[in-house]
Every structure is written in C-alpha cells, then in structure tokens.
Amino acid sequence: MRVSILISLFVMENLRKSWRHLRIYIRFSKIRFVDKLSYRAHFFLVLTEYLLIVIVSYFLWKAILTDGRVIRGYSLKDMVTYVAIAGVFRFFINEFSGAISREMGGQYRTGELIMNLLKPVSYQLYIYFHAFGGILFHSVFRIVPVLTLWALLVGLTAPDHLAIFLTSLVLGALVHAGIAFLVGLTIFYVEDNSGILHATSAIIELLSGTLIPLVMYPAWLVSTMNYLPFRFIFYQPMEIYLGHLGKEAGIAVLCAQTVWVFALSTAGYFLFKNSIQKITIQGG
C-alpha cells in the first residue's frame, strides 16, 4: 500500500516535471508557428505554389494512366489521391529541411547555436519542436485547405484505417526529423552545406515516394529501399491510407517506424555531441 502511494507520487512528480519541460518545448513550436504567419505574401504564394504542384502531377498521371491503365496496382483513382497528398506533403519535406537542417546551419554561422547550448534544454529536442511548430502551421493553414479544395474539385478517396494512418504519418515525421538533424550536422564539417541540403531534399522526394509510388521503381531498387528509412516517411503511410496494406501489415509498419525513429535520433544525439567538441565559432 505504502509502496504504491510512493510510486504514484514519484510518477506524478515526474509527470509534472516533464510537463514543465514539455511546455518549454511547446513554446519553441509556438514561436515557429507565429513566425510563419507573419510573412503574408509568402503565405499565399506558397499556398499557390503547392496547389500548382498538385495540379501538374494530377494532369501528368491522368495522361499516364489513361484508358484504365494500371501500374503495379495503382489506378488513376489511387493516383488522384496519392498526388494530392504527396503534393502537400512536400510542405513537410521543406519544413524539415528548412526548420531543422538549414536552421542549424544558420545558427551555426551566426553563433546562435552556441548560445542555445547554454540554455537548459536539449538542443536536439529544441530543434525538433521548432520544426513541429511549422508542421502544425502547414497542417492547419495549407494542407487542410488544399486537400479540401481538392476533395471538392477532383475527389479524394477516404483513408482505410485512419488511426493507423495518422500514427504512421506522425512516426514518419519523426523519422524525417531524425534524418534532417543528421543532415544539419554536416555544417560542422563543410563551409557551406546548402548544396547538401538541396540534394538530400531531392533524394528524400525520390526515395520517400512523394514523386512516384516506390513499387513502380525497378525491382532491385525496391528491394534496396527496404533497408533504408526513407520509405517510412511517406510511402508506407500512403500504402496504409490507400488500403494496400491490411491492419496487421500496418501495425508492422508502425513498429518498424518506431525502431527507425529511435535509431536515427540516437545517432543524431551522439554525432551532435561529437560535433560540438570540434566547434569553431565563426568570427563576425
């Protein structure tokens, strides 16, 4: 009896503590969120940009899959949904590249990164949450409007296993954040890593399936990608959405994603620790 009270006290105390911590991190998210709102022209421009991307891919696939053509199980109806979601998903790719990798580069150059190390928060978590603010922003102000518009004008199929899909989308975002953090660390080793950032964005687009459903690639490439984390960012959640994977397979995906999240973030943690030891602050 006594023991259980003690344990519950201990748990509560810890929950309270982590809640306090979490509140600090959520503040970082909020900063990014509000920050994104302050660029008015940019806001509408980017909205248009992504709508246009979806439109290009839509027409392209319409031309490719005419007359009831089906490629590796993907019909036009599947692709109409796929490209819409892939199109808006590019927001995420940009956000992670911008708010994590590029942000780290900028902070490194201005010396802000060092200043942030002095704060009593984990830099990695701070950067993650910073990006989550942007992700939330995109979800509310861009993805929802674009998809609503798309559903009304062209049509969207409803997701199978909504809960599993959403969970895998969140885990996919965490996989992505882990990769972006690792990419951001390259700033410690090269003078200007903007090229690397561009390249990784392009690679992620190709290998996460936002450009083409991965099954359409040649067989050797498909089997190689089973060993890489990229497909868990977008392609696997989409397979769940479209009902190409059953419930069991879906849950297996969630497990694999969790393993990747853990592996990538741990790698990020240790590499970051390693990198800051060789830091050279840039003169102003």
């Binding site: 909020k30 969120f33 509000v34 709102l37 302050s38 008015r40 806001f43 003169g283």
Partner: protein, 332 residues
C-alpha cells in the same frame, strides 16, 4: 551655385506594424497597419566646394538617410537635391563616378574576396590608371596601414580593419566629393588620428568636399568649420560649432575643495552675489555654477582665497559634448 544643394528635402518611410501574439499574427495575415516615419523632414542646406561639413545628431535622427539620398541610393519623397549639377537618384551612374562613400556600419566591399582583389576590381570599374593606383595604394598604406591586410578576405577582417579598407576603397578614384558616414567607428586611437590628419590633408591639398557624420565630436571639432545638427529629421543647428560653444555654453563651473568643513550659507554670504548656484559634493567640497557673461570667475576665486583655506580649485570648461547636448535638449 553651390556644389551640393538640398532644398525642402523630405523622406518618409512606411513601416508595417506587427501585432503581438498568435491572434495578432492571424490579424496581420488579413490586414496590415502602417506607420509613417519622417526620417528626413523638410530640410534645406547648401555646401560649397571645398567645405568640410560635419553632420551630427542623435541615433535615428536621419543622418544616414540624408547621405543615402545625396549618394543616389534613395529617391526622396519630396524636395530637390543636386550635387555637382547632377540629380543623384536620376543621373546616378554619372554621379557616383564623382563621389566616394564610406558607410562605417556596413562594408561596400565584396565579402568573399581578398582586399587587394577588391581594390583592383574597383580600379577597373573606375578606370584608374595603373600608375595612379599604385600611388594611391602607397599613400593609403602610410595612413591606414592596410599593407598587411591586403591578402585577407574581407569577411575575415576585424571591424576596424574593415573600415580602414573601406575608406581606402572609396577614395581609390580620387573623388572630388566624399561622404563619410561614421568612418571612425571601431578604430583605435592611433589610426583614428591618422585618418583625421589624412582627411584634413585631402581637403586642403585637393579641395575635396567632405560631408562627415560621426558620433565622435572630437572628429567634428578637429575637421569641420561648419556643422549641421539634425534631430528627428529636422535641422536644428547650422553653423560653426566652436562659436556655438562660446555662445551657448555660458554656464561655467568651479569646483572647490576646502580644508575646513563647508557651510554653504557662510560661503554664500561672503561671496554676496546673486545668481550663483551651489552644489555640495561632500563635507569638504562644493561646486559653484554661474553665467560667465555676468560674473567673472576671478571674483569668486579671489573671495574664496581671502576667506577660506582652499586645498584645490578647478574651473570646468564646457565640453563640446555638453554644448551639443544643450542644443539637443533645447530642441525638445
């Protein structure tokens, strides 16, 4: 016709106001509020060929804005500007051939290339002959000691080193009109006095017309026969600051230290002059302030010597800073 003519010049900036917080940010997305800043507010002045004009004022007064208009970077909202018979923002390319500009706050050099490379690039742009170029470089090296900096990329220079290179770069083509916006920012004492000397020399031997803004009033004291003071976009003083010092700073102070305990009433009684202000500093020391046009300092000192046992006495000359401060505060 004067070399530089500025008539009823006004520059207004439109700034969008940001609302605070999340709901504010949402509001901003829909509707913006604007605010207008009169950075330069209806000013007029002329500068003759060969003058060295000091241009001073508190932060945000509008000095840099004026310089940017005179150099053709900004287009005025209203008013007329002419330099050397050219309207800077309209005939800009012709105009900038004849001027040299230094913004101490911000380098005009290319960030990534070595100083000497930047110089030779400028040599080609301004079509300076190789001979003249070498001569100029030698001269600058003597004054600004840039020799050791020549092969370093600009971004790796310290503030003071960079400013020195910027000054040299802006004068390579021997411009007849020079605008210096805080050129002595971040410079050490030795280089600063070298530069002053150099500017003075340039003005005397080549007849270069110079407009100089600075927060270091000793620069002004040393270099400028005439000074403009601007505050909140308006010119509040135009003339010789040295004279202004004599006219405006009528207040003098004498600091007196005595061996005995000070009793102000006793001293006041002995001096027996109205319009004196007494400030006790501690038990053995006090300050007497007075208007030097009405009361002679000698009188006060004599009386003190006659009646008390002073250990030390000090007359405080008004500094130029005090004068400028007074001009600023009168304006407000």
């Amino acid at each position: 016709m004067a070399l530089i003519e500025v008539e009823t010049l006004t520059k207004t900036f439109k700034i969008s106001k940001r609302r605070e917080g999340l709901s504010g940010a949402l509001m901003n997305l829909v509707k913006r509020e604007y605010q207008f800043v009169q950075a330069v507010d209806n000013i007029s002045f002329h500068v003759e060929q060969g003058e060295t004009l000091g241009y001073i004022g508190p932060n945000g007064a509008g000095k840099s804005t004026t310089i940017k208009i005179l150099t053709g970077i900004l287009t005025p909202t209203e008013g007329r500007v002419e330099v050397n018979g050219l309207v800077p923002h309209k005939q800009r390319r012709q105009h900038v051939k004849n001027i040299g500009v230094v913004f101490g706050q911000r380098s005009q050099l290319w960030w990534d290339i070595a100083v000497i490379e930047a110089f030779t690039l400028l040599r080609d742009i301004y079509e300076v002959s190789k001979n003249d170029f070498q001569k100029q470089l030698k001269k600058f090296d003597e004054v600004l000691e840039i020799g050791p900096l020549l092969h370093i990329p600009v971004r790796k220079l310290s503030l003071g080193q960079r400013v020195r290179c910027d000054i040299a770069a802006s004068l390579l083509h021997n411009p007849p009109v020079v605008f210096l916006d805080e050129p002595t920012i971040g410079l050490d004492v030795a280089v600063k006095s070298n530069i002053r000397e150099f500017i003075k020399e340039m003005n005397a031997s080549l007849g270069t017309t110079i407009i100089l803004t600075t927060h270091d009033l000793s620069d002004i004291e040393y270099l400028c026969q005439r000074t403009l003071i601007i505050d909140q976009g308006k010119i509040i003083f135009d003339g010789d600051l040295e004279k202004a010092k004599n006219e405006l700073a009528r207040k003098r102070k004498i600091q007196i230290d005595l061996y005995e305990h000070i009793d102000i009433d006793v001293i006041r009684e002995k001096l027996n002059i109205a319009q004196l202000e007494f400030t006790k500093r501690n038990d053995y020391s006090l300050t007497i302030s007075f208007d030097k046009n009405e009361i002679s300092a000698i009188n006060i000192i004599q009386t003190i010597l006659d009646h008390f046992h002073p250990r030390d006495m000090k007359i405080e000359e008004p500094t130029i800073e005090a004068v400028v401060k007074e001009i600023y505060s009168e304006d407000i």
